[in-house]
């Protein structure tokens, strides 16, 4: 059964409007977060509690991901480099991919799935059980009390995790190089040290900051705008994770392009 042409276009139009609404809502929330930061009146207890929770929860998964990701890069780059006898470049090839792209992106995706989704679920549950209204009835601004500490905590946690993840990934790359490609530790180390510049490392960190902000705000947005009960919470988490993935890819492109 083929849908009439008009129906398809109307469908696309409706989706476009829906997307625009979400994007608009996220931008508004970002503005509110920024306004709440100037002057900074952050609930220190909430900030600390969230930082602790988010960092702790993600370390195992980030370490695991980073190990495999680093190993993967070497598996892809290694044989190619070996064919040309340029084993010294193996470290460089894996290294720049990890520091500039693979590390920040994969870690951000994992973070979004682990911490971002969890955060959305928490905020969504709080909204559904009227705890958010309860805050407003106590004349406490939910954005200032709940959202801002979480945004800051997520951005900080992601940057820290990216640094750790980068190191673990490079280690994983060296490990796989040794075990599967017979490339020595010192060759890899020199490959990293001689060819990678501090700027490459920083490039990844800028991205982590941007990704962290995107993940944090979209995660909070879909949490507090949830509608419906248990089903709504699931849908909110889904939407948050998808939005984060798209933002990561978009931001990655713009940052790579703009900062070289």
């Amino acid at each position: 059964m083929t849908a009439p042409r008009a129906g398809v276009i109307a469908g696309i139009g409706a989706s476009a409007v829906a997307v625009a609404q979400e994007v608009g809502g996220i931008v508004l929330l970002t503005a509110e977060v920024v306004r709440a930061l100037v002057p900074p009146r952050i609930d220190r207890r909430e900030l600390w509690k969230n930082l602790h929770k988010m960092a702790n929860r993600s370390v195992p998964i980030v370490v695991l991901t980073a190990l495999f990701a680093g190993g993967l890069m070497i598996l892809q780059a290694g044989p190619f480099v070996k064919k040309f006898g340029a084993t010294a470049l193996a470290g460089w090839a894996a290294g720049y991919a990890v520091l500039r792209e693979l590390g920040p992106i994969l870690i951000a995706l994992m973070f979004s799935g682990r911490v971002g989704a969890n955060n959305t679920a928490e905020l969504a549950t709080m909204t559904v059980t009227e705890q958010l209204d309860g805050l407003r009835a106590l004349a406490i601004d939910p954005v200032q009390f709940l959202v801002v500490p979480r945004v800051l905590a997520m951005m900080t946690a992601l940057v820290a995790l990216t640094v750790i993840g980068d190191l673990v990934a490079l280690t994983g790359a060296a490990l796989v190089a040794r075990v599967m490609l017979d490339i020595g530790w010192s060759t890899m180390y020199h490959g990293f040290a001689d060819n990678l510049r501090p700027f490459d490392f920083l490039h990844g960190i800028y991205k982590a900051i941007a990704f962290g902000a995107a993940i944090a705000v979209s995660s909070c947005y879909f949490g507090v705008t949830v509608r419906g009960g248990a089903v709504g919470v699931g849908r909110a988490v889904n939407a948050a994770v998808v939005a984060a993935a798209i933002s990561i890819m978009l931001l990655d492109f713009f940052l790579t392009y703009l900062t070289g």
């Binding site: 495999f68 044989p79 799935g113 989704a117 679920a121 998808v242 993935a245 990655d252 492109f253 392009y257």
Partner: protein, 284 residues
């Protein structure tokens, strides 16, 4: 001070013991989870076999698989195209950038990039994106059903939840992951070519070069897509079926599905690539 040290040492030992206990418990829990997951996987395969041997499955409206195909495939198309398009542009950009620092010779970039896209990046990145979108969706759906006791209701009417819920999604996912990988790969490569042209003046004729892609790369792509396509719905369904409580349980299930699916994709990618490397003797 001497009286203090044995209690300090005892406390330190106690802390250490606690850490080991926690780690040990975590390992055991992971083992138990892995065993359960494996059981679900086997049950799903059995369900697929059951379905193949019967013309009409009881209690199931015809066309469930088609609906899942649509839901997983069509609804993810734009998402995949957008994300893989951007990442394709970034990869081409980074590759050309690094080359500009070293040799300045762009003749090989397109060919090597296509080889990598086909054998690894297209299926893997597509699957990672699908793990978030599809994995979360499946876990949310099944999880909500679980906490509202609809799964129990299904069992009461004599229908196996795995046959009813997971098998159609698995079959649809197997097909769609491969299809979307191809589409994603095309978009990725094409966007990469555009970036190379506009940022580094690489001639498209030189960039779009299929000479480096061999049969084994296509085989790798299909293998990976099928593996990912199987892993994501099973992990997601598993997490959904384990949801407990109310909205909190659904949120947890969705989170676990995204993480589990993504991790499964990365680990499978590594394993398949490593095995391929060993078999092909170091010439991927």
């Amino acid at each position: 001070m001497d009286a203090a040290s044995p209690s300090v040492a005892r406390r330190a030992a106690g802390w250490f013991q606690h850490r080991v206990e926690t780690a040990g418990a975590a390992v055991l829990a992971t083992g138990a989870t892995a065993r359960e997951l494996w059981a679900i996987w086997l049950a799903t395969c059995a369900g697929v076999a059951r379905r193949a041997s019967r013309r009409h499955v009881q209690g199931r409206p015809r066309g469930e698989i088609v609906r899942q195909l649509y839901w997983i495939g069509n609804r993810s198309l734009v998402f995949i195209a957008v994300t893989l398009g951007f990442i394709g542009m970034v990869m081409a950009y980074e590759a050309c950038l690094q080359l500009s620092r070293v040799t300045g010779d762009y003749s090989q970039v397109g060919g090597q990039l296509l080889k990598l896209d086909v054998s690894d990046f297209a299926p893997t990145l597509t699957a990672l994106m699908l793990a978030t979108r599809v994995g979360a969706g499946i876990a949310a759906e099944i999880g909500s059903m679980k906490v509202t006791e609809q799964i129990d209701a299904l069992r009461m009417s004599g229908v196996l939840p795995i046959d009813y819920l997971i098998v159609p999604r698995l079959l649809a996912s197997l097909v769609m992951t491969l299809v979307l990988s191809v589409v994603g790969g095309v978009v990725m490569y094409g966007a990469g070519g555009l970036t190379a042209k506009f940022s580094f003046a690489v001639n498209p004729g030189v960039f779009f070069d299929a000479s480096q892609v061999h049969g084994r790369h296509v085989v790798l792509m299909v293998l990976k897509a099928v593996a990912y396509g199987a892993a994501i719905p099973v992990v997601a369904g598993f997490c959904g079926l384990r949801a407990r409580g109310s909205s909190e349980g659904v949120g947890w299930a969705t989170t676990a599905a995204v993480i589990g699916g993504s991790l499964a994709v990365i680990v499978l990618d590594f394993v398949i690539s490593a095995i391929a490397l060993v078999i092909l003797g170091g010439d991927l």
